[in-house]
């Protein structure tokens, strides 16, 4: 249950079912979560009444806090909320620019903005909109969210177009993330132009069933597929041309989160000087920095590592860990393929700035 005193009851009523579903992990998969959140925000915006558009910003921020608390180790909720906030802010600023008295605030992203005083607070109070204006703003914002949803749905199209540039004929690829639908679509699309072999790691114990489905789909699409155990990556890396990694979240420093075990594979690849490219939709980019890397790692059911039926062993073991994801440092990734093009990890911060407003990095 959401008990945020500042949120109005009609918004909490909208929020509660989604939050419950998120906490129960009933909505899984980055894409589905992203779509669910954007639809939710659309509903929230249409339900909210405001006279000052910054009231709307504050409401969305509070919604964001609640959503982040529902899935504390996933960044997708925060990303979508921040994207919507930036849509709202852009609209508000555009309105302000029409107003001759207001000064533009384009220096935000540079170091000089650190010294300038933020005069938003003054503006916030002074800005009162008429009913007509606010309903215009509402329809513009909702249109913006619609575009965002379209972008999320069609994320693979932009990615796929680059496949032919990255894969040559008879190349051997390796992917350690068989649960990524983006990687799957990317490879299937690449198959229409190139002939290649894909090595897929098992990702035991958490994703092994998905792995089997993944390789079945690849094989059905006439891609030469080889399943290898996680241990075999070092032995095979000398034969691999490129490593394709799917990612859950891309941070502003160029690092990303992915399945557990991927970190081993990319380290191996760096050791063998094998190029690694990560595929990620734009909505996976997060404006946050991974300051505390160990806190980012989710831990799963340890019974999958050492079965509970082995009680004799269990009671003699001090720790059993089953991490569900891994942090991949930016130096182990050569390039990010997003739906708007390929970027080096060192350039990700710039793309992040294009899509998010720095004011919203901290929602609380």
């Amino acid at each position: 249950m959401v008990d945020n005193k500042q949120l109005k009851p009609e918004i909490t009523a909208l929020l509660n079912p989604v939050v419950d579903q998120l906490t129960r992990h009933q909505i899984t998969g980055d894409k589905t979560i992203a779509l669910e959140i954007s639809h939710l925000l659309m509903r929230v915006i249409s339900a909210t009444r405001w006279s000052n558009p910054y009231d709307l910003v504050n409401t969305i921020r509070q919604v964001g806090v609640v959503l982040q608390a529902a899935l504390p180790r996933e960044f997708i909720c925060g990303n979508i909320v921040r994207r919507v906030l930036s849509i709202i802010r852009v609209e508000i600023e555009e309105n302000l620019e029409l107003d001759p008295n207001s000064e533009s605030n384009t220096m935000m992203s540079s170091i000089f903005s650190l010294l300038s005083t933020n005069n938003n607070t003054v503006k916030q109070e002074s800005l009162i909109q008429s009913k007509k204006q606010s309903s215009d703003l509402r329809s513009i914002i909702i249109q913006g969210i619609r575009d965002l949803i379209d972008e999320i749905i069609n994320v693979n199209e932009g990615l796929e177009n680059m496949s032919a540039d990255l894969i040559h004929d008879n190349e051997i690829l390796l992917t350690p993330t068989p649960n990524s639908s983006t990687v799957l679509q990317f490879l299937i699309k690449a198959r229409s132009k190139r002939k290649f072999t894909v090595l897929v790691t098992e990702n035991y114990p958490n994703e092994i069933e998905q792995t089997h489905k993944f390789i079945k789909k690849l094989a059905d699409n006439k891609i030469e597929t080889i399943l290898i155990p996680d241990t075999t990556t070092f032995a095979m890396m000398s034969r691999v041309g490129k490593v394709i990694v799917g990612s859950n979240t891309v941070f502003a420093n160029g690092g990303c989160m992915s399945n557990s075990g991927v970190s081993n594979v990319v380290e191996c690849a760096r050791e063998h000087k094998t190029p690694v490219f990560a595929v990620a939709g734009l909505y996976k980019l997060s404006p946050l920095y991974p300051f505390n890397r160990n806190d980012l790692i989710k831990v799963g059911n340890s019974g999958k590592v050492l079965n509970y039926s082995d009680y004799e062993l269990l009671e003699n073991v001090d720790i059993i860990t089953n991490p569900l994801n891994d942090y991949i440092p930016p130096e182990n990734i050569d390039i990010y393929i997003t739906n708007i093009g390929g970027f080096a990890p060192s350039f990700i911060y710039r793309i992040v700035l294009d899509n998010y407003k720095p004011e919203d990095n901290n929602l609380e």
């Binding site: 051997i172 072999t197 090595l199 098992e202 990702n203 035991y204 114990p205 092994i208 069933e209 089997h212 489905k213 390789i215 079945k216 690849l218 094989a219 059905d220 006439k222 891609i223 030469e224 597929t225 080889i226 399943l227 155990p229 996680d230 241990t231 075999t232 990556t233 070092f234 032995a235 095979m236 000398s238 034969r239 399945n259 557990s260 075990g261 970190s263 081993n264 380290e267 191996c268 050791e271 890397r293 160990n294 790692i297 999958k304 590592v305 050492l306 079965n307 039926s309 004799e312 062993l313 003699n316 073991v317 001090d318 720790i319 059993i320 860990t321 089953n322 991490p323 891994d326 942090y327």
Partner: protein, 534 residues
């Protein structure tokens, strides 16, 4: 050391040998005479045949028929008598189970042989292959016996029984025939799994020993001599070597340190036990494990089965009488994993920075040390060595000198062992070790299916699945998940690769601890030269 023992042993056996020199000489001329005897025999045979032909003609059988019958008989006799090497080899090969259309290997590995499967129950080999070999190869192929050293010792033990049961055929000598006899056994053993480097070294040594047995030694004495030598080999090359290695390696495990190890290695298991039981050390042990063999679980189980009490001198894993006597006096000895070794059990995919942050030292087992300084070991070792090397954690490996090989290899693809791909599809929830289907049974079932394609097959399958359903409910769910790859062999573009070993470059390894001392991997060829020369 060993040479002294060996020479002493040979000297001891020389005395009776000299007394027998006369006998063996006296046998030689009879051998020369055997040839003329043969001729005589053939003459007699012809005479007899002529007589019989005459008799049969009298009975009313035409000479042509007679000839046919005679030829058939001759062929039979030949089959029985011609127990030559090539013939035996052919027979062994005839028992190979060919499964040609079902072999799927990635193109990159098509140069590697898949495991040959032989039909153990085939009557054509039952008189060639010793039953002890049959049971050993079954144990090896089902991974009951796994690891280079356990395989080596069990093979040598089996060789001892074979030598004991061996009888030299009348017209050859033990020195000449036993090697060939053993080769057939080894040929069969290979069908379980390819020989390990240590096994190859031991076999080479044993064959040399057989050829060095003085010709005039009595069969029984020669056999006991060989068995003694095998015992000495096990003692010297494995047991004593391990002790030296353990004493040397235990210096690296200090109180409170964190040690990481991968899978199971016999010498490392002994090392960890030794550190607790002999040196009373307390340390943290990170056991990294992997599919499909889960050898780390074996290490863990063996550690759990070791009980120790600081006060008592007795260390017994399963000595029940001592345990009960102690329990009557005071507290029971607990498993060493309770108080001394804090175990952290992980799978290889979680080997990220969080686990490696506080590891002090990595101990790796070895299958072989190659002449170019590379470590050939269970697949996954290379990955761990690399990750630890990148984090400045010293990587040590314990390796007996029997495992040293003069081969050179540059990557893991050119030479490796292919294991059964099916192992990767079974046991998705990590409940049990991979099981090997009985080849003979499978073959039998296939024949069955061919003969009666519909009726009897279904009940057998049901019989198979029914007990599963009763015991574990999850199994059923499991099979549902498995279904996408159930008939992977018929999906044209799909391959499953399950290799056994990988190669760790020498730059990742700080130290190789052998019974001849600790050395960098670059010194492996030096040891090989010294070892060969003695």
């Amino acid at each position: 050391m060993s040479d002294k023992v060996n020479t002493a042993a040979t000297e001891a056996t020389k005395a009776p040998k000299e007394s027998k020199a006369g006998e063996s000489k006296s046998q030689e001329p009879t051998e020369g005479g055997a040839l003329s005897n043969k001729e005589l025999k053939e003459l007699k045979k012809r005479e007899k045949a002529a007589k019989r032909a005459a008799q049969k003609e009298a009975q009313g059988i035409s000479p042509e028929q007679q000839q046919k019958l005679a030829e058939q008989k001759k062929e039979k006799n030949q089959e029985r008598q011609m127990a030559t090497n090539t013939n035996l080899r052919k027979k062994l090969d005839s028992s190979l189970i060919k499964d040609d259309n079902k072999k799927k290997i990635p193109a990159m590995f098509s140069h590697l042989e898949t495991r040959e499967q032989r039909n153990a129950s085939s009557p054509s080999i039952s008189h060639i292959v010793h039953p002890a070999i049959l049971s050993l190869s079954l144990k090896i192929s089902s991974y009951k016996i796994v690891g280079s050293i356990p395989r080596l010792t069990s093979m040598l033990e089996v060789f001892k029984t074979i030598i004991k049961d061996y009888k030299t055929p009348s017209n050859t000598s033990l020195q000449r025939h036993l090697t060939g006899h053993l080769s057939h056994q080894i040929e069969y053993l290979k069908s379980a799994r390819p020989l390990s480097v240590s096994m190859g070294n031991a076999i080479r040594w044993l064959k040399q020993e057989i050829s060095h047995i003085p010709l005039d030694l009595k069969e029984l004495e020669a056999k006991t001599l060989l068995c003694e030598k095998i015992d000495d080999f096990i003692k010297e090359k494995i047991e004593l070597s391990d002790r030296v290695i353990i004493e040397n390696a235990s210096k690296h495990i200090t109180n409170g340190s964190t040690i990481l190890t991968f899978g199971h290695s016999q010498v490392l298991e002994q090392l960890f036990k030794y550190c607790v039981t002999e040196q009373n050390k307390m340390f943290n042990l990170v056991i990294v494990d992997s599919r499909p063999l889960f050898e780390g679980k074996k290490l863990l189980r063996n550690l759990v089965d070791t009980h120790y009490m600081p006060g008592s001198e007795e260390v017994g894993s399963e000595t029940t009488s001592e345990v009960s006597s102690i329990s009557s006096r005071g507290p029971k000895p607990k498993p060493i994993t309770q108080d001394f070794i804090k175990v952290h059990y992980v799978l290889i995919n979680s080997l990220s920075s969080t686990i490696l942050e506080d590891v002090d030292c990595v101990f790796l087992g070895a299958h072989a040390m190659l002449s170019n300084g590379r470590l050939y070991s269970r697949v996954g070792t290379g990955l761990i060595a690399m990750m630890c090397h990148n984090r400045n954690i010293p990587v040590l490996t314990c390796c007996e000198s029997v495992k040293f090989s003069d081969k050179v290899q540059l990557d893991s693809v050119t030479n490796n062992e292919l294991a059964d791909s099916e192992d990767l599809l079974q046991n998705l929830n990590g409940k049990e070790a991979p099981k090997k289907k009985a080849v003979a049974l499978e073959q039998f079932m296939k024949q069955f299916e061919h003969n009666e394609p519909q009726a009897p097959v279904k009940p057998t399958q049901k019989g198979k699945s029914q007990p599963k359903k009763i015991t574990v409910g999850e199994e059923e769910r499991d099979s549902k998940h498995e279904s996408p790859l159930k008939d992977w062999k018929n999906i044209p573009n799909l391959n499953i690769l399950n290799i056994m070993y990988d190669l760790t470059p020498p730059e990742y390894i700080k130290k190789v601890i052998t019974e001849l001392g600790a050395l960098p991997p670059s010194s492996v060829p030096v040891i090989l030269r010294e070892y060969r020369s003695t």
